[in-house]
Amino acid sequence: MPASADTLARTPFDRTLLLVIPAAAFMLLLFVYPFLYGLALSFNPKEGGPLANYAHFFTTDNLWPTIWITLKLALPATLVNVGLALPIAFKMRVKTRYQRWVTTILVVPITLGTVLIAEGMLLYFGPKGWLSQFLQFAHLYEGPIRLTHNYWGVLISLVISGFPFAFLLILSYITGIDPVLARAAATLGADPKAQFRHIYLPLLAPGLAMCFCLAFVQAFSVFPSAVLLGSPAGPTRVISIAAYEAAFEQYDYSLASAIAMIMGFVQLIIVSAVLSLRNVFYRGPVSGGKG
């Protein structure tokens, strides 16, 4: 018997692998099984062939536009969140006296639930809210302010709840970049703008793509704020509302599953498009050498 086979056979089983079991069981029971169940269910409509639900979705006037309605909310919200978080995180990358305070204040909305944010926004942005009253009191703007129960209300709430995540994520990426790289660029003649463009941005790009994906998925599944702050019958009738109505108003679980599958598929398209863009950029250690 060759020695190598012998040693291979006697390689002891790495028992730390057993630590994977709880997580694997969790995934299997709470994600894989319900997902496969829903997928199968979506091809078993109440009436018609296996694809009837999907045909119904794409031919019904209050269903298929929900894709665009949701994208019209989720994409701008994501772009605003990532776009705002990037410069602020960049400013916060160096430790200053104010850094901890600013970071804390920016992250606070994470602790508020969407419903709480919605309540607060109704009080603040509503037609009789503080903002409106203040503007009228100061004679800055006399007309009515419509920032709730429409598209803008939902968008603002998505920014409030999504920004802290984007900010924290980007901050951790930025602080991982060795500041000596920017110093080296400076000695080579790069002003702060050029340092950002040529050093920070390319090294951040993969992280920004990741951040975009997470923020997008979060925004695309918007539900409570679309109901509470939007007009769920019209401009903010997002895809999750359509799924909810199918499941709990028409009791058509099969159609609801199909809508959920379509929702997942749209997210998958956007996420894989962004992640494939990520491959264009350098991915690897973001330090400048040894030490």
């Binding site: 060795d178 000695t187 080579l188 003649g189 040529h198 350098y282 690897g284 050498g289 040894k290």
Partner: protein, 359 residues
């Protein structure tokens, strides 16, 4: 930005930091130095002596707390680093990990809006100078440490800076590569004839590379001089210790005649040369191990008797620890035939016995 100058003048350059407990301390205290065109200056000292602070102040990466820096008659300490145009080589290389070797080297030229057609040949020339031809397309992560350091050097010199700053560029390399790259740096300096300021804690590096050495301690300059001067005639005890004068004995002063000093201990009596004014009755004697000679009992004048307590074999010779009857310890270089327990007499030339006031 300029490509040449005749004098870089540091005038009482000071940098303060907030230390422990909010007490400010001077990391760099009134450094005054004039660097001439083409000169190679080494800032030498133990870690924390302010040498890197000085370099960062010159590069513009750190603001001064006091003093001024002049490039001929232009004041530059108020300029940001990108407007000074000095090439800098960092201790951990600081290569841009997402750019190829060629892109790294060409970065400074791109920032200067040099035409693309001109960048390629200049990058090629720089690669030739650091002997990395054929590696242009690789990413820094694919190179060895020594190659990365040479890319860093090429990147700093391709912009033809009037001044090249190097911050312990060899400290991350292994011993053999360090000596090779050291020779490389010397050769490049000779070919380019650019003023260079080189920070190191390694006295061998400073001695072999520099035209002048600036020895520092606690932010204060201790001595500025050519390598033989700093090596042979340290201006104070601290410099002597740092330059390898391992034998430091505290003795009583028994007589002074001009620079000549005679000193005595319980079982040692020596004559030496005074390097600083002596005030008290006690003085410190500093002697290099390799300047002490093991002789026989017939020798007279500046001799010390003792017993060999330890022998470290070094190949060509041995490093001996010799203990006198009163317990004073001497480090001496001697023949490999000497054994532990041997009783020996050692002798040191009077002019190589340096005398300093006690610290």
């Amino acid at each position: 930005m300029r490509h040449d100058f005749s004098e870089l003048k540091l005038d009482r350059v000071t940098r303060r930091f907030a230390g422990a407990g909010g007490k400010a301390f001077n990391a760099l205290d009134e450094l005054t130095l004039t660097v001439r065109r083409g000169e190679f200056i080494a800032l030498l000292g133990p870690s924390g002596c302010g040498k890197s602070t000085a370099l960062n102040c010159i590069a513009g990466l750190m603001q001064l707390s006091g003093g001024t820096i002049w490039l001929d008659d232009t004041r530059i300490d108020t300029l940001p680093p990108e407007s000074r145009g000095f090439g800098m080589v960092f201790q951990n290389y600081a290569l841009f990990p997402h750019m190829s070797v060629a892109k790294n080297i060409g970065f400074g030229l791109r920032m200067r809006n040099v035409a693309a057609a001109e960048i390629a040949p200049r990058v090629e020339h720089a690669l030739k100078l650091v002997q990395l031809v054929g590696q242009a397309h690789k990413l820094p992560g694919q190179l060895s440490g020594g190659q990365q350091q040479r890319v860093a050097i090429a990147r700093a010199i391709v912009i033809e800076p009037p001044l090249i700053l190097m911050d312990e560029p060899l400290s991350n390399l292994d011993a053999k590569l360090r000596i090779e790259t050291r020779a490389e740096i010397r050769r490049i300096h000779r070919e380019l004839d650019r003023a260079t300021i080189y920070v190191t804690h390694d006295q061998d590096e400073a001695l072999s590379l520099a035209d002048r050495i600036v020895v520092m301690k606690d932010g204060v300059v201790q001595q500025i001089g050519a390598p033989p001067e700093v090596y042979g005639q340290p201006s104070n005890l601290h410099v002597a210790r740092f330059m390898g004068y391992r034998n430091v004995l505290e003795l009583d002063v028994t007589g002074q005649d001009g620079d000549r000093v005679t000193l005595a201990g319980p079982d040692i009596s020596l004559s030496g040369v005074r390097k600083q004014p002596l005030a008290g009755k006690r003085a410190m004697v500093a002697i290099r191990p390799e300047e002490i000679v093991v002789t026989d009992s017939s020798a007279h004048g500046n001799t010390i008797d003792g017993r060999v307590d330890n022998v470290e074999y070094c190949g060509r010779d041995a490093l001996l620890d010799i203990v006198t009857a009163s317990g004073a310890l001497l480090h001496v270089r001697g023949a490999v035939t000497i054994r532990r327990g041997d009783v020996v007499r050692v002798q040191v030339p009077v002019e190589r016995t340096l005398v300093y006031p006690p610290t």
